[in-house]
Symmetry: none
Subunit: 127 residues, 4 copies
DNA sequence: GTGGTCTAGACCACC
DNA sequence: GTGGTCTAGACCACA
């Protein structure tokens, strides 16, 4: 049964999230040059204008820095990246726990469900 | 620092989620009558047409049943509700774990972060 | 694949159609007494008020005649019934042919499709 | 004598049927762009929101595909269109035959009535 | 300029 | 009085 809540998130935000995750988990390090609009457009299979918008938003958040005629670079401000990392972690945890409790789960049931999930997850990893 | 990913979800879907959660956690039981368009509109502080759209979507998903001139009722199909509950639980777990791993967390770190979060959470509950 | 056009026809009209058909094909003859509201309500599994509305509409069309405290009777005006019969036949043919041509069928293709359908139909009748 | 069964079908469904027919008979080919909300609203002389609802339903049925900021396009899934065409044909035949038999026509009388109708129909075409 | 959402208010069909 | 449809017009997201 497919969940009845469609995914309406704009494409440029989905890409922004993906790129932020790649930066925060170290795929791109501070100072690294991100792919050009066209390259990233091909990677994500979207129009390069969509990538442009993504980079603009990331620049506004301070995560990247664009240099005219040179490219888009990951910020050197490691503190900012760390804060962002921590902030996203907390958001994910908050969202997950709050939605599960909205579904009627107590803290104990939540822990139980989480354990079961990870158990199944690691088993399936052996395949 | 506020997370740089805005929430663009349409209001009628937010309300749909909220109502589904209320049904699934038992606030409304199978066969119960939901608030009328106007009542729910006042509750959620939106126009009654937005509620109408919400109810249409929920009816299409089989979660509720509308009877003209009478009202909107929670389905009596407990099986469907159970399946929906299970499905939503899995979706939430999947989304949480997949995003955390995208952020670079290993399974162990994930468990660790989760435990810490719940620890802080239950401590703050004593306040 | 289920056709994407739902059936929104009001219940009282569906019942009216069914009763008219029963009269026109002779299940009820001119002068016959129709079931009471309550009886018909049980037959069609609807509220007796819905039957009341059905009978009112049929009376307005002259097909039946209600006598206070006695019941609802099929009209004795055979001419009216004949005209109604002819009229419904033409409507059905018109609607069918016009929709099929709207779907792009020529007269020849229409005849062909109709013959095929009746062929399959009579074959399946042997089962 | 006008048939006593009114047509209460919602406008947005009538338009949906009309557009589906136009697509299925080839007025719009797979991949073609349908008129915008406003254009179609002017064509059918309804509010653009009614067209919006029509397009939403057609998109849900997979007949069209909407691209934000670009337009609404006929699906490229020819198989789906073929199935829909076949399904609508069968529905029309089923409805016609079942209603005629409900009216008391035997298969032979049905064939006879159909032939007569087409005969008159083609004669009138010469006018 | 396109689709998508939302509002405010009207009218209708049904119960 | 409930759900269902439709209008008219506004604003936003996206391309």
């Amino acid at each position: 049964m497919s969940t009845p809540f469609g995914n309406n998130e704009p494409v440029y935000l989905q890409i922004m999230r993906e790129l932020c995750y790649q930066i925060l988990r170290g795929d791109y390090k501070p100072g690294d040059r991100l792919p050009t609009w066209v390259e990233a457009g091909l990677q994500f299979n979207v129009n390069h204008n969509t990538i442009a918008r993504t980079y603009i938003e990331m620049a506004r958040a301070g995560i990247v820095e664009t240099r005219r005629g040179s490219g888009t670079y990951v910020t050197n401000d490691q503190t900012l990246l760390d804060r962002l990392h921590e902030s996203l972690k907390k958001d994910l945890l908050n969202e997950f726990v709050s939605k599960m409790t909205s579904l009627g789960y107590s803290i104990e049931e939540l822990e139980q469900a989480f354990r079961e999930y990870l158990h199944d997850y690691s088993e399936s990893a052996f395949l």
